[in-house]
Structure formats: C-alpha cells, structure tokens
Amino acid sequence: MLNINKNIEGNKALYQLEGRLDTVTSPDLENALKENIESLEELVLDFANLEYISSAGLRVLLAAHKIVSKNGQMKLTNVNSTIMEIFDVTGFSDILTIE
C-alpha cells in the first residue's frame, strides 16, 4: 500500500509518501512523478510516513534524481533510521540530498 499526497505550486512540488515503496507500489510513484517532473526546479519527497523501501523504490528515486538534477534539485525529508541505513549501504546517501 502506498498513498501519495501531491502538492504542486509552479515549479515546486511536495510529495508526501505513506506506506511501502516496493515492487508493487513503485510504479505508482513513477507515474505520479511523470506528469510534470521535467519542468520542476524543486522536488521534495517527504518520507515521514514511509515505512519501507526496496530496490524497486530506489530505482524510481535514482531515475527521478537524474531528471530533476538537470534543472533543479530533489530533496528527501524526514527519513527514518531504517530507510536511512538502506541509503547508506547502497551509497544513495552520497547521491541524494537528504535532510
């Protein structure tokens, strides 16, 4: 289960994620981002209520990061320690901007 709460103002977008970002739900995030990602200058993903992430979720994050980085910045906020550890192990904490 993944709930996505979108908040878009001009070139800035806030996505609040709740639940699990896994093989089954990652395509939902991918589709939700697709619509306007090319034009974004700032993309904030709020992980406060995200419990779980698998490699399928990591792949979506990496792809989004590459696209947004062309014109702007992608940020993750409120990452819990278990997910943070996965970012550390995979080197994602060096790539992504995590607050």
Partner: protein, 519 residues
Amino acid sequence: MENINITLKGRIDSSNAPAIEQEIMAKIEDSSGAPVVIDMTDLEYISSAGLRVLLKVKKSNPDLKITNVSSEVYEILDMTGFTEMMNVEKAYKTVSVEGCEVIGIGANGTVYRIDNDTVVKAYNNADALEDIQHEREVARLALVLGLPTAISYDVVKVGDSYASVFELLNARSFTKLIIAEPDRLDWIAGEFVKLLKQIHSTVVPEGKLPSMKEKALDAAEFMRDYMPQDKYEKLVSLVKAVPESDHMVHGDYHTKNVMLQGDEVLLIDMDTLATGNPIFELAYMYNAFQGYSEYDHEQIMRFQGYDFETGTKFWHKVLSLYLGTDSDEKIREVEDKARILGYIRMIRGSIKRGGLDDTKKKEEIDMWMNELFELLDKTDSLLFTIDEIEVEATVENLKEVQAFIDEHLEKVDCPVKASMQISLAAEEIFVNIANYAYAPDKGNATVRIEVTKEPAVIITFVDQGVPYDPLAKEDPDVSLPADARKIGGLGIFLTKKTMDDVVYEYKDGSNILRMKKII
C-alpha cells in the same frame, strides 16, 4: 408401524385397473395410516388407468413409496411427472462380489474390484441409498471445486444392500504402492502431501459440508464422564479456541483412500468430507498411521498391510513435507496437538463399542487416556502454522509471500529493523524469481521460513526455473555518482548487505537460495 407391502405384477391397464384398485384400497383401510410400499419388480407395463390408481393411493396415503421399478416402467413414471410427485426407487442391477479382490475395508463398507476397470463400494448398512446419495453429492462438489476424484456412475444391489460403482482403470492405492515399491517412499509421500495440501487449500461454499469443529466438540464433550473436571475443561476450551474454517478437509485421509491411476493421483471415499482447520485432519491421520496401532503394533498390518515401522516412517515424512520443516521439534509439536484430538476420537469410539468391559480394550483406553492427560498439561493451543508456502512466481504474489513471512516474524517478536530488512531481501529474491526463473513461461516458487535458537530467521527460496546463481553477479559500484549509476543489480546487493549469510545451490533441478538474518 408396519409397512403395507403391495406387489404389482405383469401389466396394469384399463382391463384390470379397477380390480387392482379395489384390492389395494381394501388393504389400506384394514390398517389405517401405515405407510404403503408398492413393489414393482415384476411389473412390465402401466397405462394411464394404472397411473390413476397410483394417484388415488397417494392421496389417501401421502407417504406412498414405490420400489424396484424397471427402467421401462420408470420411463413412464418419469415422463408423466410421477417421479417428482411421489417417492419412486428404481430397480437396481444385482452384482455378485463373490471371489472378487477386496481393495479396501472402511467404516461404512467394503470396496471390491469386479473387473479391470470397475470397482464397487458395497455398504454395510442395508438402508444405504441415502449414504450413497450423500457420497455422490460430496464427490460431485469436490470435483467441481477442482479436486481429482472418482464419481460413481451407477448404483447396484450387492446381497441385501447397495453398492456404488466406480470406473478406476488399473488404479493402485498408495497402500499397495508403499508395499510394492518401498524405495519410492519419498516420492509416494510427496504426492500424498501434494494432494493433501490441495484439499486444504480448497475453499468450500458456505453450508455445503459439515463442520469438523462441531464433530470434535461432540467428542470432547463425550469425555466429561471419563476424565477429571479440570482436564475436561481444558480439553473443551482447546477445541473451542480453534476457529471455524471454510477450507476443506477429507476426514479419512490415509493411504487406502488415495489412488494412483496412470500418473494421476485420485482421492476416493468422500463421504467424510467436511470443512475445518487442518489440525482435525492431522488428528485422523495420526490415528490411521499411529494411534490405532499404538497398543497393538500388528493392528496397522491388519488394516493397511504394511508394518508399524513403515507406517511411522511414512507418517513423519508426510508431516515434515506438509509442515515444510525438517525440525523434529516442530514436527513433534504439531503431532502432539493432533494426538489430543486423535485420542478423544479413539477413546470415544472404543467406549461406545463397549471397550470398558473388555480387559484388553480397557488397557488400551487407559493408555490413550494417560497420553491424553500428559498432552493436555503441556498444550496451550491446538493451532499451528505451516512454515512453507508454494505460490505461482508472479509479482502479484509478492504480497502473499510477504504476509506469510510477516506472520512468522510477528510470532517471534522480530525487531522492526530486522523485520524490514528480511522483508526487503525476500522481496528482492522473490521478484527476481518471478521475473526471470521461468520467463516467458510460468512456474511455482516455494518459500520456507525457520526460526532457530540463535535466534535467527532462515528463509529458503526454491524454484525449478533455469539454473541461475544471483550471487555470482558482480556488486554494483556504490561509490559512483548518480549519472554513472546503473539502474539494476541493487536488489541482490542489498540482500547480501542486510542479511548475515546468503548461499545459493542448484540441486535436483532446483535453484535453492537460503538467507539468514540474526535477530
């Protein structure tokens, strides 16, 4: 009240109908109210004048029953709607079973092979038509729900009772297989368990089959007068705590009731079919393989034709496969739960048959009773979980696999972090199997979970897809910047990094990947 028996012979038409009517009516008036049974064994023809006589009898005697109707007369009664208006029983062909091979002897009757393709199940009970009808209905239900079973296509008379007729082409029971091919015991047990799992995963529409729990409660309540109050109360509360289930159980699952016909495995003897928790099935199975022969080890030889040692070996193999574990401790734990229900069934049966008045039977009952008391002292629940599931390897089934794993992790109070890492690793491995093992075809994956004393969780994935060692793949370079990072390879890498041990082997046509996490 005695029946009024009337026999009709030859032809009934307008020439003799009035005389016959008078005769019957006189008989009925003599003993008012008694049910009328008309035997048509030797009746060849009945015209509409004759049918009108039957109508009059039916009017004055609503319980009218017509028996032994030849197929010619039956056709007339059927065409005119009489078979729906009144109770009409066809005449049954008589079959002799003298000198025929006995395939099996059950509680309700004996199964004979009358020729290469045909077996009959002869019921002990002389009034077996209802039982036969019941078994036919449940067999039909089982077949519709996808279970491989034989349905009787005819009913015949054998001696004073009835028998249902089945087509079974050169089928051999698993009992015979065990005796004839003891070195194939593993294979036989595997097929036996596969069918058992299929039965237990079959969901039965509400109200179609009786509930096993109710039967078990009856047996438990019977024990009230034969055991100490505190033990009795514990027993009843254990049975009551087993939730109702809409999944099927066979109710008499042993090696005589499973047949091999060609390479197809068939289930027979369906009259005990019910719904319920699988522990009830395991209880009956325990009795068949162990319980009834615990006191006298020769008993299983008389019933199955193989010895107690073979029965024990087969039973433990079956339990191990069914539960998906090699752990003797776990097998014993589930077996003990089954024994509680098994003993009360055997004790009740023996007491009802007068066992308390027979020295040897009394000794046997006492032995069962002692075992039961010991088990009750150390058992807190009759429920168990199976440590293995087999699903089609598709991404859609990931949820089911994760729910299965979560259920076990919750039971051992696995810490949240370890739990998430296990879930993550399991997802990576399962999704890999789903995407690549059988592509573009489909196949199954088995997931097994064990919790060791360490404490650690061990999860094993087995598939029969193309041989592939995911661990052999080179790890991605995690120090590269985003632009240089490739999209793939992260899943296996994460699995390796978050688990304490991951090993792969290819064995007997299966990819086996085992991962361990210390919790």
